[in-house]
């Protein structure tokens, strides 16, 4: 459903010259599963997902959503995704109902089916209490619900959640995770980026650990645990990142040094292998 191949993104940076935000990453996310992107802040998660949502263009490489290229067929892609990110805010001067309706209409849904769909969504996400409240007056939790409803209104086959639980209290976060899990049951393809281990552990069918624009390891939770012989995800994560940083420090004298492939790198640190 989502295919990412050799995707790179470079930025021009005054101080450092070319800044590599994504370095030839590749992954695959399938329908009916939640694919997790786990990485610290600044790892490149948001850049990757922005490219998938067609807001950014990759410097090189290819990404396709539901078979459509994110660069050349961007509008086809946007019609098939729901994108929720910390950067996709809710309009201050629109009510919850108006906001979701607006995006439903932009997706080309006729008014009557749209109203029915929205009634169902508002009931499912328990949003009827604040359907006529302006965005400016909503709590963070309410806003996040509106964003989720906005992303789901056209019933897209692919949903992308970028750090969607950040800033939410435990109750709201739990409800959101539940919604995500339900979406998986409906056969949707989900990409979920986070820096919170618990969420990744609980939710994701498959995981990619991303750091400094590179994917260090990828697989199901069990595969990762077995490969690296480390039952605790948090420990595993720290070791991978620590090793990568150490390796990069070693490579630094050679400016074009590419570092080691993730598997070799991980193999070197994995105790008991």
């Amino acid at each position: 459903m989502i295919e990412v191949e050799q995707l790179s993104k470079h930025y021009a940076d005054l101080r450092r010259g070319r800044l590599v935000a994504l370095d030839a990453i590749r992954f695959l996310a399938r329908p009916g599963e939640i694919f997790g992107l786990l990485g610290p802040n600044g790892a490149g998660k948001t850049t990757a997902l922005r490219i998938l949502s067609t807001v950014l263009r990759p410097t090189s490489g290819r990404a396709a959503v539901a078979g459509f290229d994110v660069v050349t067929q961007s509008s086809q892609v946007r019609r098939r995704i729901g994108f929720v990110s910390a950067n996709t805010a809710v309009y201050d001067r629109m009510t919850a109902w108006e906001m979701v309706e607006y995006f439903g209409r932009l997706h080309g849904i006729a008014p009557r089916p749209l109203a029915a769909r929205m009634e169902e969504l508002f009931a499912r996400l328990q949003m009827n209490d604040f359907r006529d409240l302006l965005g400016a007056k909503m709590s963070t939790g309410m806003k996040q619900k509106v964003s989720v409803a906005r992303a789901m209104v056209h019933d897209p086959p692919v949903l992308i959640f970028d750090e969607a639980t950040s800033g939410l209290d435990v109750l709201v976060a739990r409800a959101l995770l539940q919604t995500v899990a339900e979406l998986r049951e409906m056969g949707k393809c989900l990409v979920f980026s986070t820096h919170i281990m618990r969420e990744a552990e609980k939710l994701c069918d498959r995981l990619a650990i991303i750091h400094r624009g590179r994917i260090l390891a990828e697989g199901t939770l069990d595969q990762l645990r077995n490969t690296y012989g480390e039952p605790d995800l948090e420990e595993l994560f720290f070791q991978l990142i620590h090793h990568h940083d150490a390796q990069e420090a070693l490579d630094r004298p050679a400016p074009t040094g590419r570092g080691l492939r993730p598997t070799t790198a991980a193999g070197a640190t994995a105790p008991g292998r």
Partner: protein, 759 residues
């Protein structure tokens, strides 16, 4: 573009703006309140501003017998004022004259001057000590010499004698002392002057009647003035024609600016832009939806302001003479012109606001925008500036002048130039909209992060991270640098006086203005200089052959195109005749005493090489990174045209620049461009050197040319032009079949265009 989405976005944005109290206040409440308040304060101030009395020191007031009275009751005589209460406005203080003799007189004058300088009095009126006496004596003399009215000869004699007396004024002059440093003083002096003028007239009349002449002899006739403006309201029309367009433009700009900032920068700031960008709406739909919203508010602001001003004016202006309310027709023209003006300003504001990172940054751009727009709005205020072909192509100025012509009911001028003004305005709109769409397509603009401004770091970044060929910004900067250097050079160098100096000037200009910036930019900002300047030698024998073939074809194209260009030149000069100054400078260059070979070296060899390196080399290579080959060609051609000094030359150069730009893209090599340019310029020199005698003498030339009816020069025969066009089209078709090299951006845009075309 999906009109449904545009409508949705428009509806949402309008509702959003209407829910914003600040916008509503700026657009609706402010104008409704502002003008009545202004009108009220105007009336209030008018009461304060009523003519206030000023003080005058009168030194040596003359005591006059049986002459028309000047003073009475410590005031000037009320009969000396247009309105009797005028005498109340001059408060007089009297001082005796300084006594007889020059010394006393000088002391009195000095005293008066000091009094005015220290602002003790607003002005002073100093009479010479013997003024009354001498005036009396003069009068006596006139009376004594007066002949009996019946004898004509005697009258003539008397006139001669009095005429002789008038040569050396018999009466010393009174002096008004005032200071232009004070407005009150100036006003007082003006009032005093009027009083004395009337009094002098009266004294003259009295003298005449004393001499037995009728008083009317001094003023045998009165000049009457007739105003042909048809109605009373028309008198105010000139004032309205100047004020209304400017107010309209200013309000249209203000009305566009604030919503634009809120719709773009504000949305970026609030984080909702990314929400919208990840929706199915295309960027162009978003831009057009937002643009229409901004236009709506711009027009509403202008209309509401004019309406509110009109209503207030309707109530206030009856108090002002000569200025009726603006006529209805004027209002209709204003409303009609509001649409293109609002479109232009809205698109400009949108593009600027899209660039801003936050509302605050957006607000900063208002001032530069005003600074750029204001001169364009103010220029038409200058009395001598009128609507003509030259002014019509200046973006905002053209609209203001057109409006003025319409308001002044000068329909012939207005409708002659209206198409040009409308074309320029629409062209401006299209460009501004394209710019705005571009802004929305640029990640660096949409996701700009604040970075500390560090010029040194930035310059180092430019050089360190330079690509093989220049960026779009570098190309634009080079173009602008050339224009700026050219502007300053035109002041620094003296205008040439003869052809030899002109040749020198051309060489210096080419090396300093065109070549140096282009080479400097190339060396500093690109890593593959040969590639940038399209000078990469071909890698294979076939490649070399292709370049040589292309060069030959380009030279042939220049020959084939020559008659068509000539015709074009003729049309341009017919539309926009050369100013005498420009014609003279061109003439001095071409018909001077310079050997032909020098002219060829300067104009047909050095100029083409320098210009091609700059415009088709650096600048076009940079613009190619925009991703659209035609846009790059046209932009580089516009810079090429602008680098020419004379407007008529610029127009033709820009068109020729498009052809050369096309050659550059299709062949990927500068040689064909230089070849075309060399032949083109060479033929231009030859054709100006072609005399009518030569045409008549040589049969071949006679077959090509036909002499003009007025005997001044000759043009190509029509069949020659037709053949020229066909041949050029054929050669250009040949170039279009070449496999040209695409830049990465052009490949990407083509892929996107194909992706969009796919279902």
């Amino acid at each position: 573009m999906n009109p449904g989405n545009v409508k949705l976005i428009l509806a949402r944005e309008v509702r959003d703006q209407l829910r914003d109290r600040r916008t509503l206040f700026m657009i609706a409440v402010l104008p409704i309140l502002l003008y009545p308040l202004l009108g009220m304060s105007f009336l209030q101030i008018a009461q304060f501003m009523q003519e206030r009395p000023t003080t005058v020191l009168v030194v040596g007031a003359p005591e006059l017998d049986d002459l028309p009275p000047l003073f009475g009751n410590e005031r000037f005589d009320p009969a000396l004022f247009a309105a009797a209460e005028g005498s109340e406005l001059l408060h007089l203080s009297f001082e005796p004259a300084g006594g007889d003799g020059d010394g006393g007189q000088a002391a009195a004058k000095a005293r008066a001057r000091r009094a005015v300088r220290t602002r003790e009095y607003d002005a002073a009126l100093v009479f010479p000590a013997d003024f009354a006496e001498r005036l009396g004596r003069f009068r006596e003399e006139v009376r004594r010499r007066a002949p009996p009215p019946a004898e004509g000869e005697a009258i003539a004699g008397a006139a001669e004698e009095t005429g002789a007396a008038a040569d050396s004024p018999a009466v010393p002059s009174p002096e008004i002392v005032y200071s232009t440093a004070s407005e009150r003083s100036g006003l007082t002096a003006h009032r005093l002057g009027e009083v004395l003028r009337r009094w002098t007239e009266k004294v003259g009349e009295a003298n005449l009647s004393a001499g037995g002449f009728p008083a009317a002899a001094a003023r045998p006739f009165v000049v009457q003035q007739a105003d042909v403006a048809e109605e009373a309201g028309r008198q105010g029309l000139v004032v309205w024609a100047k004020i209304l367009p400017i107010l309209l433009l200013l309000w249209a700009l203000t009305g566009a600016f604030y919503p634009a900032v809120d719709l773009c920068a504000g949305e970026k700031e609030r984080g909702t832009l990314e929400t919208l960008l990840s929706s199915p709406a295309e960027r162009s739909e978003i831009v057009v939806g937002k643009l229409l919203t901004i236009m709506l508010f711009s027009m509403a602001t202008a209309a509401l302001n004019l309406l509110s001003m009109g209503v207030t004016g309707w109530m206030v202006f009856p108090h002002l003479p000569n200025l009726g309310p603006p006529p209805l027709l004027a209002v209709a023209w204003l409303s009609l012109s509001l649409l293109p003006v609002a479109a232009l300003f809205s698109a400009l504001c949108l593009a600027l606001a899209a660039f801003a990172r936050s509302s605050k940054e957006g607000q900063y751009y208002l001032m530069p925008l005003l600074l750029v727009t204001m001169p364009l709005v103010i220029l038409p205020m200058t009395p001598s500036v009128e609507l003509n072909a030259g002014n019509a192509i200046i973006p905002v100025t053209g609209v203001v002048l057109l409006l003025r012509s319409l308001l002044e009911a000068d329909y012939v001028t207005a409708f002659t130039h209206a198409p040009l003004v409308i074309a320029v305005t629409l062209g401006g709109c299209v460009l501004a909209v394209r710019w705005a769409v571009d802004q929305f397509n640029q990640e660096s603009v949409l996701f700009r992060e604040s970075e500390r401004l560090d010029v040194g770091l930035w310059l180092r970044h430019l050089v360190r991270d330079r690509g093989p060929t220049p960026t779009v910004a570098a190309a634009a900067a080079c173009g602008v640098a050339i224009l700026v250097v050219r502007f300053f050079m035109s002041f620094a160098l003296p205008p040439p006086e003869n052809a030899a100096q002109t040749v020198n000037l051309v060489l210096v200009t080419q090396f300093v203005v065109i070549l140096t910036p282009a080479l400097l930019f190339t060396v500093m900002l690109t890593s593959d200089r040969l590639e940038t300047l399209l000078l990469k030698p071909p890698r294979s024998v076939e490649g070399t052959a292709a370049v040589l073939l292309g060069t030959g074809a380009a030279a042939l194209l220049a020959i084939a195109l020559h008659p068509s260009v000539n015709l074009l030149q003729w049309v341009v000069l017919w539309l926009y005749p050369l100013s005498e100054e420009a014609a003279a400078s061109l003439q001095s260059l071409l018909v001077g005493d310079v050997p032909l070979w020098q002219l060829f070296v300067a104009i047909a060899l050095v100029t083409p090489i320098c210009e091609e390196l700059a415009f088709r080399g650096f600048i076009l290579s940079g613009f190619r990174h925009m991703g659209y080959k035609w846009r790059a060609i046209i932009l580089s051609a516009i810079f090429f045209g602008a680098a020419h000094a004379i407007l008529q030359q610029s127009l033709i150069a820009a068109l020729v620049g498009v052809v050369i730009g096309y050659l550059a893209v299709q062949t990927g090599n500068l040689l064909p461009c230089i070849a075309f340019h060399v032949v083109h310029n060479g033929l231009a020199i030859l054709s100006t050197r072609l005399s009518s005698e030569a045409v008549a003498e040589w049969p071949l030339l006679e077959a090509l040319y036909v002499p003009l009816a007025d005997g001044e020069g000759h043009v190509f025969r029509l069949p020659v032009v037709v053949v020229s066009m066909l041949l050029s089209a054929a050669i250009l078709y040949g170039f279009s079949r070449l496999r040209w090299h695409m830049t990465e951006e052009e490949r990407l845009q083509r892929a996107i265009a194909r992706g969009l075309a796919a279902p």
